[in-house]
Point group: C2
Chain length 435, copies 2
Amino acid sequence: MHSSARYGGLLTDKYELTMLAAALRDGTAGRRVGFEMFTRRLPEARRYGVVAGTGRFLEALGQFTFDDSSLGLLEEFLDSQTVAFLADFRFRGDIDGYPEGELHFAGSPILSVRGTFAECVVLETLLLSIFNHDTAIASAAARMVNAAGGRPLIEMGSRRTHEQAAVAAARAAYLAGFAGTSNLEAHRRFGVPVLGTSAHAFTLLHTGPDGESAAFRAQVAAQGVDTTLLVDTYDVATGVANAVAAAGPGLAAVRIDSGELAVLAQQVRDQLDRLGATRTKIVVSGDLDEYGIAALRAAPVDSYGVGTSVVTGSGVPAAGFVYKLVEVDGQPVHKRSAGKQTRGGRKQALRVARESGIVTEEVIYPAGRPPAVDAWARTLTVPLVHGGDVVADTGVAALAEARERVASGLDSLPWEGLKLAHGEPAIPTRLVGGD
Amino acid sequence: MHSSARYGGLLTDKYELTMLAAALRDGTAGRRVGFEMFTRRLPEARRYGVVAGTGRFLEALGQFTFDDSSLGLLEEFLDSQTVAFLADFRFRGDIDGYPEGELHFAGSPILSVRGTFAECVVLETLLLSIFNHDTAIASAAARMVNAAGGRPLIEMGSRRTHEQAAVAAARAAYLAGFAGTSNLEAHRRFGVPVLGTSAHAFTLLHTGPDGESAAFRAQVAAQGVDTTLLVDTYDVATGVANAVAAAGPGLAAVRIDSGELAVLAQQVRDQLDRLGATRTKIVVSGDLDEYGIAALRAAPVDSYGVGTSVVTGSGVPAAGFVYKLVEVDGQPVHKRSAGKQTRGGRKQALRVARESGIVTEEVIYPAGRPPAVDAWARTLTVPLVHGGDVVADTGVAALAEARERVASGLDSLPWEGLKLAHGEPAIPTRLVGGD
């Protein structure tokens, strides 16, 4: 495998490997350690986060190796013992954590990675890249799904983010409850439903006075009436008339991509109904975020196309996860830098709920020592990797399960926890026991 | 080549291919067209942007093909004529545009893509992904370089963005003037200098009362004194004393990653000088952005490590580029949607300067019809692709040239144009001629 592999070992900060070299040299590389991934706070005073990236991380773990080309480059600055270690590298430790799609809060012990220092430290960069990106997207997307109140959302932001990040973003948005994506590679790689409409360029290509009608007829000829015609290249009312003339009242949908969407949606709905196209749906798009989506609740909109805001995390492009050493040879460790104290020791968590299913708090406790809780409570941590072997489900079925998990997680929040406005976390986090 | 190739054809929105199918069917696919990439405004009232992505795009162009696995998936929704077209797809048109590293402003015609509608439309998603991402990073990075006033910056944000976006971000930051990156793959793929320090985990791994000193001695044993020791795991003053004790006064650098950096930097500088380590440098890091960097101008800081803010575009994660059809069969076209009018026709641009070299305006004109300008003026548009063949330099040497271009571009701005505060563009853009 060439080192340009999707998850090759060089997707790593240099210092992970120089630390490895120093630890191999002084004999500390083999110490049994625990690292933990968590976030110190929810970004932008959000009320919850949605864990995403687990499936991609578990896939990456098996591909995270160093081929000959990579090793050649590493010889520039690493000694031969370290290069030999990396040539044989395969993670053989244990990982448990929150399942993908679980909600999380500040301090939630989302991932616990245990093994030798050597094998745990080299995973840091790739692991954080995957979770910081995917969780940022899923957390923003869940807010949009909630704002849409049951109407479908389509992720169409591939062009607004790095071309490979776009594929992961499509997956994360789907996980959070989006209906599908415009991105073909996300369909191939992760089975995300792929959807599409058309662009203004296609209408403009059909020059001449009858251009828009010609474009609509061409689209219907190629795709049938189960298609979405883009009606705002010129005048929207004329566009709608042309669309129904080209496709008939059985046209699946029209899309409006600009202007005052609430007003236009009502005008278009009225016009479609007058033309007998009562079942033709209205798709809106154009710089929508969760607030724009919420503002259209009263408008006759059937679905939303969302671009920039979802693929860039709607103001929060990285989830804020860190990966910290919390345990060495069974003893808790933590640094004491100003403002960045972390609690040592391996941790697990419970989520406590009322009988109604509405959650009330997250309880974080030293691993293996769950507190007695006088209420319904669910252990959040599940095994993911054992002795280097992935023991959790991955792939399309696991993604579908994660999607269900987000939906039931959102259902379990108290209503204040679903507010879009910044504020307190939906539920408090409580630390018990420990040092 | 498997379709998971770095720049495979499926990194595309579905609608590009359904538009292609409709155009092939109605005979418009072969029309000669021009598309243009530009931004309607500079995001967040920034004063300039830095074009980045050109090198990656030119590399992508040759890899943007559809293999058998991709074609099999496309058969789900495309007719056989369209699938056959994509099986043979190779861009054979012409592209010119601003060279990589050139400054740009709102409306700058950054890329002009000409060929058949079929070959130009399928490039849209990948092209915009690359330029929107890389330009966002380079534009933010250039502001940081300017804020640092000549002190070196190290990009260390890989863990805060998608793992492949991290590689492109390292390249874009280097292009904009950063000294290097922590990302090993960016070093391998693009020749970006790779740098590294160490993490708190390495100190914590060395448990016991003498742990920090043991960690420093191990790092020096492995890397020599030409290394950077991280001194803020526990008490900074003790850390500095331990660092100089372990490495001697020839220690290359210490890093402070937390706390009130301006105060700590001065204390650490004084302490290092007292210990005779007068040439030991101070690296600071920890949630720095261009404003944080500027605020440290008076502090005795030698270099900055920058993470989240640079890889996420410092509040602007996407550059805002769009790709619009501007010409069909030699005639200008443009849509008339509310608030999104674009000017039709292929365009080029001149940048006008005083004799001192300080620029005064950007003049955009219909391609091939440059206006008479009564001042020193430079044509911004250069040939990039001719008949499908890349005619511009790419690779490591071109990246170095682009880096020079950013530096001289920043030098050419009037001083108000370098202010970090939001405001008017550094120079006005003037459209001349055209419809």
